[in-house]
Symmetry: C2
Subunit: 229 residues, 2 copies
């Protein structure tokens, strides 16, 4: 691997980019980090990801890969040594892909929706919808330590933001999303996941996350208040 060039475009807080940090570190791949300021994107980022203009982007030699789930599979298929991010069995692979997608298309938007609403009926309904989505994850994790079983896998990596951001969102909104008595499986998973060394060592600072998401929420709520008038 001596001559390989591996670069990761990320921000300090993007949960999508964090997935790639975890995956590369789990695989032991040396890489260079390029920190982006999304309010002033670099020419290099815009060239590498002209369509979405987003992080993460992985640069591998002359190749550019965007979209975090696509990058995770690329990493697993390029550096095929252990640990494997996806299982080997086709059905288990399909199941992992299903849950990774469910996390991104159902769980994340529903939690974001609840997070970005002010107190009232709309927030209550969004909160209920988020809890419903989380209930499916609770079913899936039941009896397992991690979604990948004993070892971290692509579903854990994809849902990893939950273990980090849920308590941040709870603190800011006062809404409870994952409680030990109501979601013991997910609660246990959050604890186990957060203890994995590559995860523990790479969390963004919590106080900075609270400040950032608090500010985003205030901006959204004040815009909506103006629209409602």
């Amino acid at each position: 691997m001596g001559e390989e060039v591996v670069k990761l475009f990320r921000t300090w807080s993007s949960p999508y980019a964090l997935r790639i940090v975890w995956a590369l570190k789990l695989k032991g791949i040396e890489y260079e980090t390029i920190y982006e300021d999304l309010s002033n994107k670099s020419e290099a980022l815009l060239e590498c990801n002209p369509i979405h203009k987003k992080v993460p982007v992985l640069l591998h030699n002359a190749k550019t890969i965007a979209e975090s789930l696509v990058i995770l599979e690329y990493i697993d298929e390029t550096w095929t040594h252990s640990p494997n991010l996806l299982p080997q069995d086709p059905y288990q692979r399909a199941t992992a892909r299903f849950w990774a997608k469910f996390g991104d298309t159902e769980v994340l938007p529903s939690i974001w929706d609840a997070f970005t609403k002010g107190p009232g009926k709309g927030q209550e309904e969004a909160h209920s919808r988020a809890l419903e989505k989380l209930m499916w994850l609770e079913e899936e994790i039941k009896g397992k330590k991690l979604f990948g079983g004993e070892e971290i896998g692509v579903v854990d990596i994809t849902l990893g933001w939950l273990a980090n951001l849920v308590s941040v969102f709870e603190e800011i909104t006062g809404l409870k999303l994952i409680e030990q008595d109501k979601s013991p499986g997910l609660w246990g998973w959050m604890e186990a996941f957060a203890e994995i060394p590559v995860v523990k060592e790479n969390w963004p600072p919590r106080d900075k996350l609270v400040a950032k998401f608090h500010a985003i929420r205030q901006t959204i709520l004040s815009k909506e208040a103006q629209t409602d008038q």
Copy 2:
């Protein structure tokens, strides 16, 4: 393969389910079709796909797989004989996954948005957004016969609904989406794709599609007219 049980839950018109029809037929897999009426879903479908309650669902022996892109990869990894739906090279696989996802998360919603708006500024804006998304596909197909190159691949299968529905949507709305002079690459792709035998033999009847989507659009537009009052 004598004792294998392969069943596909579909509807006559679902473009997501059609992907699986094409993939199974390309691979030469014998399967049983279960036609669902989505206004009166079968117990079997609800059991197989309790989360999304949608078609397609593939049943393979005792295994259940939902989500069309997940099913396509499952088929390719389970029946590994030619034709391959995904390329072998990790970077080409990543590129194929990127475009398949782009089709589902960007192109399809933008075209649907334009389709479900009545004449006016909102429709014009939605139409422009859809054309912008299609422009990226035009860039990608340039110089190629199919997205998979000479042979049909997962991107062609995922975008296949375009070749079928674009002209249906154009006929109903009067909006042009893919024109021969403006999008010669996509136009050529639509023609080449529609001529592939498994595609040609499995298109839903066009008059039924026009009637169905015309009715859906009318329902959406009349609901919005009521809300606006």
